[in-house]
């Protein structure tokens, strides 16, 4: 009652004022931010009318308004502010930056948009999310922080390749990596490694230059990247200068690392006991009687022990400890940002040195960047971004090579690692990787220059023309020296030297039109064109016969035995357009279209069109919810669109014969069957989302459901081997990914001295193949199968049935189909009679992360847990490592402790039989679920009180301790659920290095 009265009175009062003083006059003033810097382009409108204007470059405005009317000041990223016009004519306004994430600005392709009016699904990560995480590449810092984005480094080598899957794998044989766009430049992301294990080409990007990372997940956002958007788009925006006092920031950190896990292997006496028993058990197969078996195995022990007294355990070499080393990470970077009204500038430089946890693996990198923006005139802005970096990597062999240090675990502990004189022992059963380490090196150096000049000119109010010219150079050299005493070296030394030069030019021009139509309608249109050309030039030389190991370059070799040189190129030419419209921040619409042509596509299918539509309804803006205290924000949105995947190789559509050499004479040889219909694969994605906020945004988040259907799957369809070609690239097959994403952000405690917020993301993705070439025939490649109804690259092998308690034989389930369709669970000892079945998914179905950020007084603490569930890993090395003493490889401890020894023993470790192959077939015996939860990152910091440091002219001094992979909770029996093979096979491990657990301390100073 009281309220109503008050309300009516004020209405009456207002009306009265209006009538009495309605008098138009010109109101002027300056709009600044909370630091006193002028804000250009602030919208000012007279509430309830269509009158409106914007501040000029210096933040000044001038508007006609009646006394008593209210002016509304709005600006993206700031809270709206209203003032009543009274008799005064000057109103200087200070806008407060908005803490509300709804007002966050997101970088979308060819423009920006506010979160509030967005109809796309985009996840944004800011500098705070990736700073200070002691990892050598920026992608690894994102792990667990973006809903629906699974990021896995192949294994623990510092330069190791990365797999990023945005909403599941959308391809089987084309690329599955997202498109990376750095400040508008699509980055060259080809793996240029020559040692069989991929490297991460984006290693060269320093996290300290990055302002934000936006990951475009749905079709509505990614379709503007057309034929390259299907795997999602990662937009990286670097920092820019800010007007006002220059700020200098220095960050130094240092840490040490160790493997997340080690495994247990047989020591010398266990090895001897097991293998003696295994030899005796081989009487009747490999040996005629026990005496022969014992004589044979003791002979072998003599050999393995290299003359040392194995009978008395003279040697017990822990080869695993030799393979690992203590790693460390040192990082030093600085940045400077500043500017005046016309020009802003940002400089950054950084140094990183990472010593991996596997022997011989190291990385050193330096980066520099300058970003300059200049306002040439009120209508004309120009700018330039330029960065360079050099990354120097000491590499080790790929997982499948004998000289991969971790393959050292195959050596028995009775074998000495070193001779008495300290040199590595060359008489081991497998080549001693220490010989490789001492006598060979593999050094990769990546030099990268990346630059863009850009300008925009405002032709008419709201209509801008934007021009960009960008250049991306990836230059890499590799120097591989193998000295005389390295394993397998027979040509008096060998040097392999390669260089590759990949360049990427982008020329783009587009018009953008932003218009406020009246008070309520906002329209924004972008239309333009882009040409992108990538060229790659490669050359390498191999030389043999060196005077001595002191000569380590090609010039020193007397015999040049191989030389390669080749060039390749591809181009994309695109036209694109997009329109976004919103009515009163309430009803949102967006449409975009892109037409892409590429040299990669077959002559018959050169151009593709990729449309997308989306719409949103901000329900909370409706009257019936506007005053709700509980539900402060609610948006419903939906989108549909098409994107493409063009990662099919440059000339995959062509029927080709390659040059070859026989007896040093020239010839040609069929290298590829052709398919002129070959083209991109098309992903059609539908997304429905709800964005919500409760209690004024203290609880907020998003829930999305998506369905992605990928058709025309780019496929190396296996041909019949007897047809003379192994595979043909075709657009056959269809798969889908569907799932949901759940994001919940809560401000748990918000007091002046204590703030605690939590951010949770969880995603579920179900991946399923819908159709395959050759009437849906299975495609089997090693232990991976493509089968309709199963996920991509499902794990496929025979099923281990354990051990026959009667005789210690390994058993396998026959798994033949019964008449009723079920599988026969009869067992057999003959692996050939067992049928392979689908036994696991190499990718997780559930994954997510939870991050807590706590600030208490001057202390900050944040930690991120990450989890993945539903994936399995097949250990390709299992049939050597846990092989019941089949061969002389050292065995996992369970082969000793759990082995079958006498009738009645119940175990799953078969009887040890030398050369017996008892249970060594590739089966589920070596398959394990890789579910895990891990404390991915935790950082604790303390900032010195401002009062103390101000005296020294500093604005911030903070010390912190941080760590990566600090805790892991898993039942996985292998090295680590994130250690997979870098030498082939999906969802497989093969002597693969576990990731590093790193603990680091640092200092952060700003002035």
């Amino acid at each position: 009652m009281n309220r109503k009265l008050q309300f009516s009175l004020s209405i009456i009062a207002m009306l009265f004022c209006y009538i009495s003083f309605a008098q138009t006059k010109t109101v002027t003033g300056t709009v600044t931010d909370d630091q006193g810097l002028p804000l250009p382009g602030v919208n000012i409108s007279v509430k309830g009318t269509s009158t409106g204007t914007q501040t000029d470059f210096d933040g000044n405005y001038s508007i006609s308004a009646n006394e008593g009317s209210r002016l509304v000041f709005s600006y993206l990223g700031f809270k709206n502010q209203e003032v009543s016009v009274t008799s005064t004519t000057t109103y200087n306004i200070t806008l407060q930056a908005s803490a509300d994430e709804l007002d966050e600005i997101l970088v979308v392709g060819y423009g920006t948009q506010s979160k509030r009016t967005l109809t796309d699904n985009i996840v944004k990560l800011s500098a705070e999310d990736i700073d200070e995480v002691p990892v050598s590449n920026f992608q690894s810092a994102l792990v667990g922080k973006a809903a629906g984005v699974q990021i896995t480094q192949t294994n623990g080598k510092v330069e190791g390749g990365l797999n990023i899957r945005v909403r599941g794998a959308t391809s089987i044989s084309a690329g599955t990596q997202p498109l990376y766009v750095l400040d508008g430049i699509p980055l060259y992301n080809g793996d240029e490694s020559n040692n069989g294990a991929p490297t991460n080409p984006l290693l060269s990007i320093s996290p300290n230059e990055i302002e934000s990372i936006e990951i475009l997940k749905d079709a509505s956002s990614a379709a503007i990247y057309g034929a390259r958007g299907a795997n999602g788009v990662v937009i990286i925006t670097t920092k820019t200068g800010k007007e006002g006092k220059s700020e200098f920031s220095v960050n130094i950190s240092h840490g040490s690392s160790e493997p997340t896990n080690k495994r247990d292997w047989l020591n010398s006496s266990q090895y001897i006991e097991l293998f003696r028993e295994a030899a005796v058990n081989a009487v009747g197969s490999s040996f005629n009687d026990e005496a022969e078996a014992i004589a044979y195995i003791e002979d072998q022990f003599d050999f393995l022990a290299a003359g040392t007294d194995w009978r008395n355990n003279a040697v017990n070499t822990d080869w695993q400890d030799l393979a690992f080393q203590n790693g460390h990470v040192s990082d030093a970077d600085f940045s400077m940002s500043g500017g005046n009204a016309k020009t802003s500038i940002f400089f950054a430089g950084s140094l990183n040195e990472t010593r991996g946890i596997i022997r011989g693996n190291e990385l050193r990198r330096f980066n520099g960047r300058t970003n300059i923006n200049h306002k040439f005139s009120e209508r004309f802005n120009i700018g330039m971004n330029l960065s360079y970096s050099r990354t120097d990597i000491d590499r080790i062999a790929n997982d499948n090579a004998f000289v991969n240090p971790l393959q050292g675990i195959a050596q028995p502990h009775i074998s000495p690692a070193y001779n008495e004189d300290g040199s590595p022992n060359a008489n081991t059963i497998y080549p001693n990787f220490l010989l490789q380490e001492e006598n060979a090196f593999y050094k990769t150096i990546i030099k990268r220059v990346n630059g863009r000049t850009f300008g925009d000119y405002e032709i008419l109010d709201g209509l801008k023309i934007n021009g960009n010219f960008a250049y991306d150079l990836y230059y890499q050299t590799e120097d591989n020296f193998t000295g005389r005493n390295a394993p397998f070296q027979s040509t008096n030394g060998e040097v392999f030297a390669s260089s590759v030069n990949a360049e990427n030019y982008i020329v783009s021009g587009f018009l953008s039109y932003d218009k406020q139509l009246g008070d309520l309608n906002t329209l924004s249109i972008v239309a333009g064109t882009e040409l992108n050309e990538t060229t790659r030039r490669y050359e390498s030389v191999t030389a043999n016969q060196f005077p001595s190991d002191d000569f380590q370059t090609v010039d020193g070799g007397a015999d040049i035995v191989a030389g390669r040189g080749n060039r390749s190129a591809n181009s994309f030419f695109s036209l694109f357009a997009r329109a976004t419209y919103d009515y009163a921040n309430k009803y949102l619409l967006k449409a975009s279209i892109r037409r892409d042509g590429s040299s990669r596509f077959g002559g018959n299918e050169r151009y593709g069109v990729f449309p997308a539509f989306s719409a949103g309804w901000v329900v909370s803006e409706e009257n019936f919810l506007q005053d709700s205290d509980l539900l402060s924000y609610l948006k419903l949105r939906g989108s549909w669109g098409k994107t493409g995947n063009a990662e099919i190789g440059d000339f995959s559509s062509r029927y080709l014969f390659a040059a070859i050499s026989y007896n040093q004479r020239p010839g040609i040889s069929l290298s590829q069957p052709g398919n002129p219909d070959l083209t991109w694969e098309t992903t059609t994605q539908t997304d429905f989302g709800i964005e919500y906020g409760f209690f004024n945004g203290r609880i907020s988040g998003e829930i999305d459901y998506y369905h992605k259907n990928t058709d025309g799957l780019l496929f190396d369809v296996p041909l019949i081997p007897s047809s003379g070609a192994s595979s043909i690239s075709s657009n056959i097959g269809e798969l889908e990914n569907k799932g949901f994403e759940f994001v919940l952000n809560t401000d748990n405690i918000q007091t002046e001295n204590f703030q605690w917020s939590t951010s949770l993301n969880l995603a579920y993705n179900k991946n399923e193949i819908l159709s395959l070439p050759n009437s849906n025939n299975d495609i089997v490649n090693g232990q991976n199968i493509q089968r309709v109804g199963e996920p991509v690259n499902a794990l496929y092998m025979i099923e281990y049935a354990g051990v026959d308690p009667a005789n210690g034989d390994a058993l396998y389930f026959i798994n033949s189909e019964n008449p009723d369709g079920s599988l026969s669970k009869e067992t057999t000892t003959n692996a050939n009679s067992a049928n392979r079945i689908v036994v696991g998914n190499p990718f997780p179905e559930w994954y997510g992360g939870i991050t807590n950020t706590i600030n208490f007084m001057d202390i900050d603490f944040s930690f991120t847990f990450q989890g993945e569930f539903g994936a399995s890993i097949y250990n390709g090395g299992g049939r050597f490592q846990s092989a019941s003493a089949d061969y002389f490889d050292n065995q996992t401890l369970d082969q000793f402790t759990d082995r079958w020894q006498q009738p009645g023993d119940i175990t799953d470790v078969p009887q040890a039989r030398l050369f017996g192959g008892n249970g060594t077939a590739q089966s589920t015996r070596y398959l394990d679920e890789s579910d895990f939860i891990r404390l991915r990152n935790a950082t604790l910091g303390y900032s010195l009180p401002e009062g103390v440091i101000e005296r020294y002219g500093l604005s911030k001094v903070r010390i912190y301790a941080t760590g990566v992979n600090l805790l892991t909770f898993t039942d996985y029996e292998g090295y680590d659920p994130e250690a997979r093979s870098d030498a082939g096979g999906v969802g497989q491990a093969f002597y693969s290095v576990p990731p590093a657990r790193t603990f680091s301390v640092g200092l952060n100073v700003k002035f």
Binding site: T529, L531, S599, L656, S661, N663, G667, P721, S722, N832
Partner: protein, 454 residues
Amino acid sequence: MNNIYRFSILLLLTLIIFSCEDNLEIDPEQSIDGSQALSSEQNLDALLLGIYQESGQGVSFGGDIQIMADLLGASDQISWFGTFVAPRQLIQKSLLVDNTFVRDTWFNNYESINQTNLIIDNLDIITSSDDKKAQVEGEAKFLRAINYFELIRLWALPYEAGATNNQAGVPLRLTGYEDYSQPLPAERASVEEIYAQILNDLGDAYTKLPTSNGVFATKYAAQAIRARVYLQMQNYASARDAADDVIENSGASLTESFAGAFNNDANSPEDIFAFQVTNQTGESDFITFYASQDNGGRGGDIVLNPDYFALFPDADDERANYSYIGDYGDDLTGKYTNQFANIPLIRLAEMYLIRAEGNIIETTSIGQTPEEDINMLRLRSGAITVTAPLTQDDILLERQLELAFEGFLLHDLKRTKNDIDGLPYNDPTLVLPIPQNEMDTNDLIGDNNPGYGS
């Protein structure tokens, strides 16, 4: 002024849009299109050379074909100490259908066969001379024949003289594939049909090839393979006659010493045909698996056992001592110590052995007597000579002494119906499985070989 500015920007944009379509035409620089490859004589010639390269790869005649036959044919004379699983399965006679040697060799043989077919299909574009055309055809058919011959002896139950050899052989493909969108499945032809095709091709090759042809196939290379094929078919008379033709007319001669026949950078006078290896081209899996690390191998994966040395009745036989100690203290054969040496496919010595065996079975003395043929080889190696009468078993032994580790053992034991490591000559275990990937893709392939599932 401003209008001009705006206008020129729009003009620039328009220009960009219309000038860029051409940028989509990019050709590969390291390869040529199939239409080019099969339309000129020069390119067809280059393709023919490419097949020698293809067939000479390590997974094929560059070693694995011969190594598979020796491992599968071995009993106690050699051991496999290497770490690779695929060869270990071979020597243990317990092959799995996904054996990688089996998979790679099968595919390589058919890669070669398909390209020989492409050449034979397109012979009409050779217009420079009839001789040239005949020579290209002859070489292509020679290469097709040797590939089918290895396929049929390794992947099918043995050919039995006097029987209907209708047991399943391998797919018989005689037309090259230019368009892989057509149906590709093919069923297995019978062993009889494959042998008929091999003899057909070798007959053509013999007629069309010149007597000398550099390091490439000649008339007598075709004839020598024909002798080998006839021998495998237990057609001793024809084998003898073909061998005799080679001995009398090829111009090849035995090297002075036994060692002189091996580890040669250039063909020796004894080589009737050899796959070429240089330090830049060619591969030798013989080196990989037989040689020490110093010689470019893996240190001695295949080692010689006392049983091997015991085969030699005469300890002074140079061949008995043609070995050395490898990295792990084992005896390794001396035949493969130069990693860039050519790989002899046919040595003249084999022709003497075939002629001798043919003469014994047929009780003839074409050329010269069996004792004279054998003693030529034995004298060269400083071994005591043999005297008449010789039996086929004597020849078989002599073949082991002379041709060890050159890929003969399995096939010799099979054609003479001898047991192999305790298994009867026609035991299905001694036949390679059709590779898993062929079984997975070829709908018409039917059942796998006995013992390998379906």
